[in-house]
């Protein structure tokens, strides 16, 4: 079990980074609590895997330190860190049986055979692998192989954290749900810190207690799924989390009023000290806009209405600016014009993409 500190950690694959785009991972300082279930969420190429490989030790960061429980492990080799990693493509040792696969990390560390057997039995029980222990690992299905990879991490009693690098990519959809649920259960039972890299928001939000959203080599927000939904710290978070994502509209703000496409909209509070040079945007989730046919609010053109089954999404245009609005089942949106009203408490103002908090 370990708390993970990232102190001024940054990484560039080329020496002497100067511009922001040279960094694969922009310098950051974060603390990840012991026993937490974290998800690293972000689009491809945002530095998730780099960060993960730095924590596991496969990549040495070009600056900053990694600390496990306050102990500096930055220069420690992978095998010396108490860390396990599960990869995108399942790694099993083909020639060995399932039991031998699970025992492999322990035998490599010279653990005595009786203790090995006990641990293997415990872990197999936790992962429902007991019935398959004597089978050869070759020829198992991808989800079984992934479970074995996970088991090789869990089997080490002192493992500080288990890292997952998009572990469900190659798993059949119907097995994904099952495996994800099992993963979460194992996390809760074992209390091991788990860090789960994914670009799938559903996976991140169901697995993790804390989601770390990354964008262009930067951690833009760490928060619970609810925090990410209600107060996205970055327009990217708003756009990336939620389906459909947050509406982001160019705006000008003066005091307690925002002007969007020439329409004045009241905000919940007054904003001062907005940087005059910054790009100002207003963001609001489709769930917090109400749409009605009656002539009250901001007029928009209705382009189409999509029915997702649970709710309907109206795709509208506000003077050419496309917006998404969640429409109640019974709302009558007929014709091509409708009227919107925004919930001021749910409207956020962003300067250069970042949430304005003061």
């Amino acid at each position: 079990m370990a708390r993970i500190d990232l102190a001024d950690l940054g990484h560039a694959y080329r020496p002497n980074p100067t511009k922001p785009s040279d960094w694969a991972l922009k310098p950051m300082t974060h603390v990840w609590e012991d026993g937490g279930a974290y998800a690293l969420l972000g689009p491809s190429g945002c530095g998730k895997t780099t960060l993960l490989n730095i924590i596991s030790g496969l990549v040495t960061p070009s600056q900053g330190r990694v600390l496990f429980d306050g102990k500096d492990v930055t220069d420690l080799a992978v095998e010396k860190r108490n860390i396990a990693q599960v990869f995108q493509f399942p790694v099993v040792y083909d020639t060995m049986s399932v039991a031998d696969n699970l025992a492999f990390p322990l035998r490599n560390r010279g653990m005595d055979e009786a203790a090995v057997q006990t641990r293997v039995a415990e872990v197999a029980d936790m992962l429902d692998l007991t019935a398959d222990l004597t089978r050869k690992a070759r020829g198992l299905t991808a989800d079984m192989k992934q479970k074995i990879s996970l088991g090789r991490g869990l089997v080490r009693a002192n493992v500080g954290a288990i890292l997952f690098d998009e572990p469900l990519t190659v798993i059949d959809p119907h097995m994904k749900w099952q495996l994800r649920a099992q993963l979460k259960q194992v996390q809760e039972r074992s209390g091991v810190t788990m860090i789960y890299v994914t670009h799938d928001q559903t996976e991140a939000l169901t697995f993790a207690k804390k989601v770390v959203v990354m964008f262009e080599g930067e951690v833009v927000q760490i928060g619970t799924p609810q925090e990410l939904f209600e107060a996205p710290a970055h327009t990217f978070v708003g756009y990336f989390i939620g389906s459909p994502g947050m509406n982001v509209m160019p705006a000008t703000v003066e005091g307690g009023t925002a002007t969007i496409m020439g329409h004045k909209i009241k905000l919940s509070r007054a904003y001062k000290k907005l940087n005059a040079k910054a790009r100002i945007e207003a963001g609001i989730r489709p769930e917090f806009i109400s749409i009605a046919a009656k002539k009250d609010g901001i007029p928009v053109q209705v382009k189409r209405v999509e029915d997702t089954g649970r709710f309907r999404i109206a795709r509208v245009e506000l003077d050419g600016l496309p917006l998404s609005v969640v429409a109640p089942e019974n709302a009558k949106i007929d014709g091509t014009t409708a009227h919107l009203s925004f919930d001021p408490a749910r409207m956020h103002i962003y300067a250069d993409g970042h949430l304005v908090r003061d």
Binding site: S56, E79, Q85, F87, N108
Partner: protein, 295 residues
């Protein structure tokens, strides 16, 4: 789905059948023809049944004794070069760089011996190993070792084995290198995380992945070394005495030296059958390995 069934489609196979008939079956049949006949010249032939075969397979006769001696030497040669080339090839492939300019350099250097024609290889080593003007032979003799491949059986064997190792180890190494390159990085990373030693990585990750290429490599090297002719012919001429005479050299002596067509034909057929059988065994093993993998 309904598939049309039309037996006239067999005619499409006809061209291939004709080509194979002319380049393989007919020549083979002439050999079969000779193997069951005897001649006393004048292009007159007499039926001899399986006489040549019984003589060939009976070690107490001249022909049989000669055949089994050559066969034994062939097996010994193949065994020795496999025992050297396979482990050596694996070691070389493991030591080759995985990226950078070294890869291309290594590949070119390794491929060079493979591109040299057989009799040139023979000539190179024939001169290289000579005691009077050859660099290798001269140095070895100067070190006080008695080395002369034209008179000493052990020297002759060492020479052709070293020559073959020089010529063909690259093949195994390149095959293994290709096999190693196909292992995803994640396997090595996982092994590091699991705390595996270098030997454990080799035994549990690399060797299983190399099984298929090694089977092919061993098959190729066995076939090739079992049929070896040119290099020992150029270097030792099968000598000293008959000590480096394999089946190929023996066959040529019998067929073209003594013009003993009947005996030579019988020997050809048995030689061919041995190779086919070995091929079949290898093929069966490979297919079984694959099936085991899939199950």
């Amino acid at each position: 789905m309904d598939k049309p069934i039309n037996n006239r489609a067999w005619f499409l196979v006809l061209p291939v059948f004709i080509i194979v008939a002319f380049n393989a079956i007919l020549p083979l049949m002439t050999v079969v023809n000779y193997s069951v006949q005897d001649t006393f010249g004048n292009n007159e032939f007499f039926w001899n049944g399986i006489g040549w075969f019984t003589e060939l397979l009976d070690p107490s006769t001249d022909l049989g004794g000669r055949f089994f001696d050559s066969l034994g030497r062939n097996f010994m040669f193949s065994g020795i070069i496999l025992a050297i080339q396979v482990p050596l090839g694996i070691l070389v492939s493991l030591a080759m760089p995985k990226k950078g300019w070294g890869v291309a350099a290594c590949l070119v250097i390794m491929a060079l011996p493979l591109l040299v024609p057989w009799n040139v290889v023979g000539t190179i080593w024939q001169i290289f190993a000579r005691g009077d003007i050859g660099l290798l032979g001269y140095i070895v003799n100067a070190m006080g070792l008695n080395y002369n491949y034209t008179q000493d059986v052990l020297s002759a064997w060492i020479t052709i084995i070293v020559m073959d190792v020089w010529h063909w180890t690259s093949l195994i190494a390149l095959l293994c290198y290709a096999g190693l390159k196909s292992i995803p990085d994640a396997y090595y990373q996982a092994a590091r995380i699991d705390g595996a030693s270098r030997w454990a990585v080799f035994r549990t990750i690399e060797l299983p992945k190399l099984r298929r290429v090694l089977l092919i490599g061993v098959l190729l090297r066995f076939m090739d070394s079992f049929m070896i002719y040119t290099e020992p012919f150029v270097v030792t001429g099968g000598g000293p005495g008959n000590s480096t005479t394999g089946l190929s050299i023996d066959l040529v002596k019998l067929a073209l030296g003594q013009f003993d067509l009947g005996r030579a034909a019988a020997m050809s057929i048995v030689y061919n059958l041995i190779i086919l059988t070995t091929c079949w065994i290898f093929y069966t093993v490979m297919v079984n390995v694959d099936a085991e993998r899939k199950s």
